[in-house]
C-alpha cells in the first residue's frame, strides 16, 4: 500500500512538473519582456566621467536582436536616454551579440542577445552642476523572437541614478591656508 502511495505521489509530481514546464514554454502564455536588474547608484565627481552598468535579462526561450544585427531590416536593440540638462550622456556601449542560427533560418546567422547582457553608459556631470542625486530616464527598444515566431517591438522604461559629488581637488582649493605664517 505504501509503495502504491509512493508511486501515486511520484506520478503526480511528474505530471504537475510536466504541466508547469509546458505552461512556461507555451509561447502564448508568456510575454518576452526584457527586464532591468537593480542598478546601484553610481557616484561621479562633477566635471568627470563615470560609467553606469545596466544589466538586462532576456527571458529563457527568447532572444532579441543585438545593437548591430547583420540584417538591415531587423530591429536593433537600442537604449535612448533623456538625461537632465547638466548630466551629459557621452557614450552608450553595447555588448557584442552572439551569432546564432535558428530553426527558422538554419543557413543564416543572426546576431542576438539572450540571457543576461550589460549596456554601459558613460556619464559626465558638468562642472557647474549642484552636487546631489540625479535620475536619468530612458527606454530600451527591443524586438524579441523565439524559435518560431517574432513579437512586436517593445520599449522597456529604464531609470538609473547618479550621485554627483564634488571632486577632492575642489575642496582643496576652497580650504583656508593651513600655516599661520601665511598671514605673517
Amino acid at each position: 500500500m505504501k509503495r502504491v502511495n509512493q508511486g501515486r505521489l511520484l506520478s503526480a509530481a511528474v505530471f504537475v512538473l510536466g504541466v508547469a514546464g509546458l505552461a512556461q514554454d507555451s509561447p502564448g502564455n508568456r510575454r518576452p519582456s526584457v527586464t532591468l536588474q537593480p542598478t546601484e547608484v553610481v557616484s561621479i565627481n562633477r566635471g568627470h566621467s563615470g560609467t553606469v552598468e545596466l544589466n538586462f535579462r532576456v527571458p529563457g526561450g527568447f532572444h532579441i536582436n543585438s545593437n548591430m544585427p547583420h540584417q538591415e531590416y531587423l530591429k536593433k536593440t537600442e537604449l535612448k536616454l533623456d538625461a537632465p540638462t547638466d548630466i551629459v550622456v557621452r557614450k552608450v556601449t553595447y555588448p557584442e551579440g552572439e551569432d546564432r542560427t535558428f530553426p527558422f533560418a538554419p543557413d543564416e546567422k543572426i546576431n542576438v542577445y539572450s540571457g543576461d547582457f550589460t549596456v554601459t553608459v558613460l556619464v559626465r556631470p558638468l562642472k557647474t552642476v549642484l552636487p546631489t542625486k540625479y535620475a536619468v530616464h530612458g527606454n530600451l527598444k527591443y524586438q524579441a523572437c523565439d524559435n518560431a515566431a517574432c513579437y512586436p517591438p517593445r520599449q522597456l522604461p529604464v531609470t538609473f541614478e547618479v550621485r554627483v559629488t564634488k571632486a577632492a581637488s575642489e575642496n582643496k582649493k576652497k580650504s583656508p591656508p593651513q600655516s599661520p605664517r601665511a598671514h605673517g
Partner: protein
C-alpha cells in the same frame, strides 16, 4: 490491489508527453487564446491600402479561398514562409486561392515594397493597421496566418512558423475537399 509505481510513472510521463503535443497543437489551432471566437465564423472584413495604392477589401475575394498572412519585415520566420506562399499562389491560384499579406510594420511603404519585391512576392501586400489585428483576435506574434474558406469563414489559424506541408494542407482544406494535391 497493488500497482507497480514504475507503471504509474510511465503513465504520468505518457500523459505529460501528450500534453506537450496538445499545447504545441494549440499554438496552431484557432481555438487557442485570441482565436477561439473566430473559428468557423465569418472572417472580419476590412479595407486596407495595398502597396500599389489601391484599397482592397477582404470581401472582394468572396468565393475564393484566402490565405491571410500577417507578417513584418523584421520578422525572420515570416521571411521563410514568403517563398512558399509565392509557390502556393502559383500552384493553387487557378483553383481559387488568393494569398493576402498584411504587413504589420512601422517601416515606410517603400521599404515594405522593396522587401516584398526582393522576396519575389506575387500576391497583394496590404499595409496593416492595429485595428485589423484586433479584429483578428490581436495579432500578438508573427507570422500569424488565417485560412478562410470560399464561403468566407475562418477554418484555421496558425501562430508562428510551421512546415510548408502543413501550410499546403491548410490551403487545400480552405479550397475544399474537391482539390486534389498535385
Amino acid at each position: 490491489m497493488k500497482r507497480d509505481p514504475v507503471v504509474l510513472i510511465v503513465i504520468a510521463i505518457v500523459i505529460s508527453v501528450m500534453l506537450v503535443f496538445g499545447i504545441q497543437k494549440a499554438r496552431h489551432n484557432p481555438t487557442s487564446a485570441g482565436g477561439a471566437k473566430l473559428l468557423n465564423q465569418p472572417a472580419p472584413d476590412f479595407a486596407l491600402a495595398s502597396l500599389d495604392g489601391k484599397t482592397l477589401k477582404l470581401s472582394d475575394y468572396h468565393g475564393k479561398a484566402v490565405l491571410l498572412n500577417f507578417w513584418a519585415t523584421w520578422c525572420e520566420p515570416c521571411k521563410i514562409e514568403m517563398p512558399w506562399f509565392v509557390d502556393l499562389q502559383r500552384k493553387y491560384g487557378p483553383q481559387g486561392l488568393q494569398v493576402l499579406g498584411v504587413a504589420m510594420d512601422d517601416a515606410p511603404a517603400k521599404d515594405i515594397a522593396g522587401f516584398s519585391q526582393k522576396m519575389g512576392v506575387n500576391y497583394p501586400i496590404l499595409i496593416g493597421k492595429e485595428e485589423v489585428g484586433t479584429q483578428y483576435g490581436g495579432v500578438q506574434y508573427l507570422p500569424s496566418t488565417f485560412y478562410i474558406s470560399r464561403d468566407g469563414k475562418i477554418i484555421e489559424r496558425v501562430f508562428g512558423l510551421v512546415s510548408r506541408s502543413e501550410i499546403e494542407a491548410n490551403v487545400q482544406k480552405a479550397l475544399g475537399a474537391q482539390v486534389a494535391a498535385k
